[in-house]
Chain length 202, copies 4
DNA sequence: GATGAATGAGCATTCATTCAT
DNA sequence: AATGAATGAATGCTCATTCAT
């Protein structure tokens, strides 16, 4: 990577982090491209060197924190399933909170709305989160920690819904409902109850 | 109520039902006030006789179907708590689906975003749904169906999150995740597990 | 005048005084007909029973206070010309101030702008004020107080300009220039100088 | 200044001169931004590259002609005070007339109305004109042409009022009162009378 | 790669005025 | 005389996007 490429990458990073900062303060619709570029210290046109459309930056915003989770999941290999999930949920919600309520609102909306984003791949974020969680459960079955007859698909759907529901309650209660807090409560109170029927006695 | 008042009410109703129709077809941002009024057969300005801002019509759209649930809950007095909740969730999600995926997306967004809606009362829809469900559980405690030590608040939060999560998965998977279907599966598979510890042996 | 006529007159008066109140607070463009009628406690349509166009109310607003001056001028018959003018100017500017800076701004603008007011009679207010002052000076010539060769027309123009200029300075300085105060100073310092060449030695 | 910057400046100039042309024909409210841009041969949005709000162009319109006066005043250094003032008033009113009656109306109104123009600096035009005239008189005192005890502040206020009054009579008489003409008459007939008490016998 | 002037479609909202009741 | 629902023209302003430099 030569100097120019490094500078370009740095410009892109600067744009993404600036956009995230602004998104935390106000809604996506309330931000315009000029706000982002001005704060990032580049010209308006530069934005379009890196992003085809204004919305394209939103997925990139969440890619960084959520990318870290994937790495961590690998390292959790030896943990018990409940601990693993508790950790995953906790980290997931930390990322959600770090992205801010407005970014969260945006996920549900336009970014994933195929009417607005022509080349959207069927709700990328949803599919990504779903597969990640499903993988964790499937591994547990393979490892013999969960019974063969565990309804992986069903549990994945229910748990993903739960997580997304926490996010949505946060958005709809306008911040009153604190998702990380309630996620932890959910893990403590419910996770064992839900998984008990499927955990093998080792 | 005289003739003029009746006509006015009818105009408002027409606007709401027309807006719902259009909202089912496309996103809220893709609809403009003129679309609504033209289809409703009134002048553009008439919209503003009934709604202060464009967004104001969204909450009114859902008020009718959700209003019906409240009535039904009363009639479910004699049912067992699991049956009652199953019925409530089923009806809730029917209403959600009947409002369409775009209306659902809008709930998470501007309507409840206080930056956009100055006189928004702390996420009306969330508070309304929360209280409705909490009331059902509290009644069950009073009736002796659920134990005194049932963590009503916790369960209400968890279940509301679950419902909202179904909605959100629907939006984020762009319709692939069918919320009514998965709600029913959730009720069948999980409700008993979740409530078992708190149901009294009568 | 029967009861109905009295009530109608009262309604009109109420509208005028309410409009004046509102005009003192904000500019004419910032007020709408509904503001006036709502505050006056009548329906929007009622406004149009008394005024053909929104602007029509502005001239009526000033008609009452300025009407009083005309009456007073008659009573000043015996005074010396300088005293008379000083009194007239003082009263004139009192009326101007009582109408408020925004009403004053409006006089210069739309009300007298024939593009906006089709049946405007060539600047009614200007003509009215001009004739009033000219009459005072002509009388003084008739009475022998001012010489026959007094350039009545010229002096009238100059003095009217002075008065209107005080108004305009008020508007353009956004209230910093106090017209009544400066009018008084003008009378004390300049009136005698201006009229000295034309006053007869009696 | 490179080519692009030159082109940009030219665009701004074109907008200002076009706006002035249109303002001479009709009132400010009767003109819309599209009228200006269409006639200037640029896109609607380009207007907003140079002016934040529609009204902002009005002050710029008068900046050019009045700017010239400032330069001329310097060159009048050697003249007698009466000649100097006569010249100044003449040029002032020429500028006023060249800006047109509608621009003149607008000065009294929105441009200087702080309700409409948030960053208005206390009636810029008034302050600017006032300081210019005061400077002329102060210089005359310094030069010994006017006595030390000349009430500079008072005379400045009175004369500025007179000039503004001429403008206002023009507006309120809807063009019947010709300001340049009457300004000249005022200078011939009154200026000597007003200043006589303060001019030193050299 | 970076710039920033130019574009122009797009739209919510206002509000004076009308008129059937 | 009073009402107030309905009207619909009118427009300032935004802003994503382009492209010549």
């Amino acid at each position: 990577m030569n100097k120019r490429q490094t500078a370009a990458l740095e410009t892109k990073r600067k744009l993404i982090s600036t956009a995230l900062e602004l998104l935390k303060e106000s809604g996506f619709d309330a931000i315009n491209v000029e706000d982002i570029t001005k704060k990032a210290g580049v010209a308006k046109g530069t934005f379009y060197t890196y992003f085809k459309r204004k919305e394209d930056i939103v997925l990139d915003i969440s890619r960084v924190p959520f990318g870290e989770i994937a790495d961590e999941v690998e390292k959790m290999a030896g943990m018990e399933i409940i601990t693993k999930l508790t950790h995953y949920f906790h980290r997931f919600m930390e990322c959600v909170e770090s992205c801010g309520i407005n970014t969260c609102r945006q996920w549900t909306k336009d970014v994933l709305n195929p009417n607005n984003v022509p080349d959207n791949k069927d709700g990328q974020k949803w599919a990504y989160d779903f597969e990640m969680l499903k993988g964790i459960l499937e591994n547990a079955v393979k490892n013999g920690e969960l019974k063969e007859n565990t309804p992986v698909e069903l549990l994945t759907h229910i748990i993903i819904s739960q997580l997304y529901g926490m996010m949505t309650c946060w958005c709809m209660s306008d911040g009153k409902f604190e998702p990380l807090d309630w996620t932890n409560k959910f893990c403590q109170a419910q996770l064992e109850i839900i998984f008990k029927p499927y955990i093998t006695q080792q």
